[in-house]
Subunit: 332 residues, 2 copies
DNA sequence: TTGAAAGCGTTACCAA
DNA sequence: TTGGTAACGCTTTCAA
């Protein structure tokens, strides 16, 4: 292994000062072509690679961002993460990944620990802490971009998926298909996107003057089992419900399973529409009708917003709006 | 925002030296209970959080590992990543995530850049560079754990999925089902796990003295389209083939789609078995017969191995062996 | 265009 | 048990 090659070694080899080496490798142009070449040769020769840690300490910037998601195994997030990575890579940033497991406490821990971590900015997706906590954090902290939350604060960026419109599209589609008793699997109660989707759901139902009891909206974890159990519960308490709008595709898939296991045919007897349009939505049978969200775009644009914010931390960037689209398949 | 609270501020507030503060926050016990308490009070009061960057520069360790995967949107990897994250978190390590896109060149870039990055160790999954490059890298570098490669080098850990046995299990299952003309979708040629799976495939075929032409083994990207195209190609050139063993579940799913679109019934007329047992394998219709790999375990144990290696970088840890299991569903 | 000196915030080493 | 001083490897500031 040997000792690390430092800027000092390069300086000595090239017969210049450390500072000159620094200028050379950072493309400052207050340097003569001849010295530049000499330095670069020495860099090559010695295989010098500047230390990001030392540089980070000197500049107070580490070229690193933290990506916080509920759970990377939730199929919504890998694509988002991919978008983030690609945007980050283009700007030569590294990405730390953290999972909160939908736990506000865990999220707190991570956010708190990130304060001493070498990150220049944070991407917070699927946040479960409450608004006041988040604002406090934003105030004491560096640039931050949040998903599906309105935080009007300098240095904080927002990416907003049009959950409300998406939910309405879903419900109206079900109504068009002739359903009059529609339930909802609401997902995690603490999730802003859940609140927004429930809002759109209610609005559409009311607008069409359909019956709606609160007990027709059941919360649950955004997982296959969460969807299955929610559907079973509704089947038991509200057998009149013939169609379900699910918080996300995974829950929708669970619901379809529950229906089929209970002997119902989908879509003939029971219909289900999901949200997100994860890649398997078109592979399963019946194909899942859903609201498409461009997940890669969510990640990519969030990262871009963060990068801009890190350039100028005091700005209030406009919210990044992500549109949605109804994708009709066989489950409705 | 204000200026950062440093160890100096704490020292002043507590009326001790920086060194004493350092001892206090690092739980060294060469410190009297009274001073410890005084220091900790000051830490609380000022909201002091040590800087990982400064600490990293001083200790030459950043408590960070780099996780390199081909593509986090390939459904094999989120679970692996999750295992890594959980193991890393337990040891208070951060995880950088990088995607190579199955490109050896890109992998090179990442590995090379990681040399100046603040990581204490690297987890390399789905590597596509050749053995000599990898060995060179391992030599000049810090602890490293690779998946599905035998690199006998101090400081390098190995996690080996039993691809060979898995492939044999798959093929023997197909043979038991009465198939005599079996093809393989081999996945990425440069992938060691592909080579191992092809090896197991050939061995099983030969042992049962079944016919096998090289053209019955077609490579392709490990994606849905890769599987679909591979299956179509085989359908065209080798219509006698009634069963397919696919490099992974995603390709297998693509193959099933291709068959169904071409009017074949699965499993009655054509059978397919995959590899990995990703979560949707049991959701699709027909459910996919596959070889189960505990992906979370792969990540978790790889990370543990790396953590041990970072404690003692010169050891040659035993390879971590990951067993596999045949899961029979409706596609065969 | 170049170089010297002073940080950046921490820990390591040695002396008190 | 404590504190002083010197790293760690780089950039920034200012002077030449």
């Amino acid at each position: 292994m040997g000792r690390r090659v430092t800027i000092e070694d390069v300086a000595r080899a090239a017969g210049v000062s450390r500072q000159t080496v620094s200028r050379a490798i950072n493309n400052k142009r207050e340097i003569s072509p001849i010295t530049l070449e000499r330095v670069m040769n020495a860099v090559q020769q010695l295989g010098y690679r500047p230390s990001w840690v030392a540089r980070g300490l000197a500049t107070q910037r580490t070229h690193t961002i933290g990506l916080v998601v509920p759970d990377i195994t939730n199929p919504f997030f890998p694509e988002v993460a991919r978008g983030v990575q690609d945007a980050a890579r283009a700007a030569e940033y590294n990405v730390f990944l953290y999972n909160t497991d939908e736990s506000a406490e865990r999220e707190h821990q991570i956010l708190y620990s990130l304060a001493s971590q070498p990150v220049d900015g944070i991407l917070l997706f699927g946040s479960r802490i409450d608004d006041s906590d988040l604002t406090t954090f934003a105030e004491s902290y560096r640039p931050l971009v949040v998903l599906n939350r309105r935080i009007g604060h300098p240095g904080v960026g927002m990416v907003l998926v049009d959950n409300y419109a998406g939910a309405r599209l879903a419900v109206e589609h079900l109504i068009n298909r002739g359903h009059r008793h529609i339930g909802m699997l609401a997902g995690p109660l603490a999730s802003p996107s859940s609140i927004q989707r429930v809002g759109g759901f209610r609005a559409a139902i009311e607008q069409h003057q359909l019956p709606l009891q609160d007990s027709c909206i059941v919360p649950g974890p955004p997982t296959l089992d969460g969807g299955r159990e929610g559907a079973e519960q509704l089947l038991y308490h509200h057998p009149e419900i013939t169609a379900l709008f699910a918080y996300n595709d995974v829950m929708a898939l669970g619901a379809v399973q529950a229906y089929i296991e209970s002997g119902y045919r989908v879509p003939d007897e029971r219909a289900v529409v999901g949200f997100d349009d994860i890649w398997i939505a078109e592979l399963v049978h019946p194909g899942l009708t859903t609201i498409r969200v461009n997940k890669y775009e969510v990640g990519y644009r969030a990262a871009q917003c963060l990068l801009a914010l890190m350039e100028d931390p005091m700005q209030c960037p406009p919210a990044v709006e992500i549109g949605v689209e109804l994708i009709i398949r066989e489950s409705t």
